[in-house]
């Protein structure tokens, strides 16, 4: 028998295919992860499988802000100590967690579940923008913070939302773009440097 005709087990190829479909995982990484899983002790893999299943069974999106949550509405939306009149708009739950970890913001969030990307067929209707508008009409906030990524698409998303919700009584702001802490002016690209210069603040 010709050795080259021996095909890889379908269980392994299924595993590789599934891993390959995850974002940021190419075929080589998928292969490496698959063989890592195969070599790992059974209890470790069972507990991994268990958390995968639980993540689907127990987690859902908050009906109000669309953050990933175990209870609905989520802890943030029901927290009376938080300023529910401030809404910070982010692309994904993970961005809200990043802001939460700063302990610097005490308002609520709205998760878009992505950003506008026409070339990928993602327009305003594919995001949670209509729910955001209904939410604002029902309970008008005093402040909206647009915290989408400073890319062309993130910026188009912020512009679109701000055009939809323009109202005299809501203060709309966009996260500042600038030089990172520990950064070097000399190493900063001209566009970021210009933006940082233009949004400079009074030094106190």
């Amino acid at each position: 028998m010709n050795k080259k005709n021996v095909s890889i087990s379908s269980v392994i190829s299924d595993l590789i295919n599934h891993l390959n479909q995850l974002p940021g995982i190419g075929p080589k990484t998928a292969e490496r992860l698959a063989f890592h899983i195969i070599k790992s002790p059974e209890n470790k893999i069972l507990s991994l499988a268990d958390s995968l299943i639980k993540s689907k069974q127990k987690l859902s999106f908050c009906n109000n802000c669309f953050i990933v949550t175990e209870i609905n509405p989520c802890n943030i939306c029901t927290d009376e100590m938080r300023d529910q009149k401030s809404i910070c708009i982010v692309q994904d739950s993970i961005d809200a967690y990043a802001i939460e970890s700063t302990n610097n913001y005490n308002g609520s969030y709205h998760i878009l579940n992505g950003y506008i990307s026409p070339i990928n067929g993602i327009g305003p209707n594919e995001l949670t923008i209509s729910s955001l508008i209904k939410r604002i009409e029902k309970k008008p906030p005093t402040e909206i913070i647009l915290a989408t990524n400073p890319t062309i698409e993130g910026d188009a998303t912020a512009t679109y939302i701000s055009n939809q919700i323009k109202s005299a009584n809501i203060k709309i702001s966009r996260l500042a773009v600038g030089i990172p802490f520990g950064g070097d002016l000399d190493y900063t690209d001209p566009k970021t440097l210009t933006q940082a210069f233009n949004s400079r603040q009074i030094f106190e």
Binding site: G24, P118, D155, A158
Partner: protein, 255 residues
């Protein structure tokens, strides 16, 4: 043995996607090699002195290392940026349509330099808020460059000269049939109105320069209907839907 080469080139970033944890892959239109697909490592993580801010719709000077046709960009310096912030959805989706069409028609041939300057010019017009005219212009010039512009001067069947009027454009035969012969072309046909044929001929015979003046442009209604018909014609050839189109149309209704 794998040989590593180096290439310096000017290019226009027309689309991108995230790759791995920190990297991004860009489709870069070049004047000589068509679209170059290249990776920029760690671009989402750190700033680097070798890179100006980089996103889609920028003309930049790139330095790449190439192994086995795999391009890694290690320097990118801005030449021209068209889309100033804040960017509107209509501008973004129009730019995306140019990108999708460029990708769908991409091949390496003697037209690359022409297409490169065409894309550059059209992105500039779009950033000046000239949308549908630019897209129709791009469609027509692309069809001409690819050699699939339809025959609109003589009837495909009897060779008689086409007089002003409304006619059927046959998708399979790629041309117009006169009214006497139009019985033969009921299938796969699109009706072109007299004004649309006039605009089609006008753009075919005119090269506008970079500084297009919006006041010179003909009625909007004809532009949009011609755009939609040419889009059907192009889809017949490429067999590909444009994802950005639906979003452009809904944004046009909003403004």
């Amino acid at each position: 043995m794998q040989k590593r080469e180096y290439l310096n080139f000017e290019g226009i970033t027309i689309s991108s996607y995230e790759y791995g944890e920190f990297d991004k892959i860009f489709n870069i239109l070049s004047p000589h090699k068509g679209i170059i697909t290249a990776i920029i490592k760690r671009i989402r993580k750190t700033s680097n002195k070798n890179f100006d801010y980089i996103d889609v719709f920028q003309k930049m000077n790139f330095k790449a290392s190439i192994t086995d046709n795999f391009y890694i960009i290690y320097e990118a310096k801005s030449v021209e940026t068209w889309f100033e912030r804040p960017i509107k959805l209509t501008n973004l989706s129009s730019g995306n349509i140019i990108a999708e069409l460029t990708i769908n028609f991409n091949s390496i041939n003697e037209n690359n330099n022409y297409i490169y300057h065409l894309v550059s010019k059209c992105l500039k017009w779009i950033s000046n808020d000239i949308f549908i005219f630019t897209l129709v212009y791009f469609q027509i010039k692309l069809l001409l460059a690819e050699g699939i512009f339809p025959e609109i001067n003589i009837c495909l069947n009897c060779n008689n000269k086409i007089q002003p009027g409304d006619y059927l454009l046959n998708l399979i035969e790629s041309g117009i049939f006169c009214n006497k012969c139009s019985e033969k072309t009921k299938f796969s046909s699109l009706k072109l109105l007299e004004q649309e044929i006039r605009l089609l001929k006008h753009i075919k015979n005119t090269e506008y320069d970079n500084n297009l003046n919006i006041n010179n442009i003909i009625t909007k209604k004809v532009e949009l209907s011609l755009y939609k018909k040419l889009s059907t014609y192009i889809k017949f050839y490429t067999n590909k839907e444009l994802k950005s189109e639906k979003i452009l149309f809904s944004s046009l209704n909003k403004y």
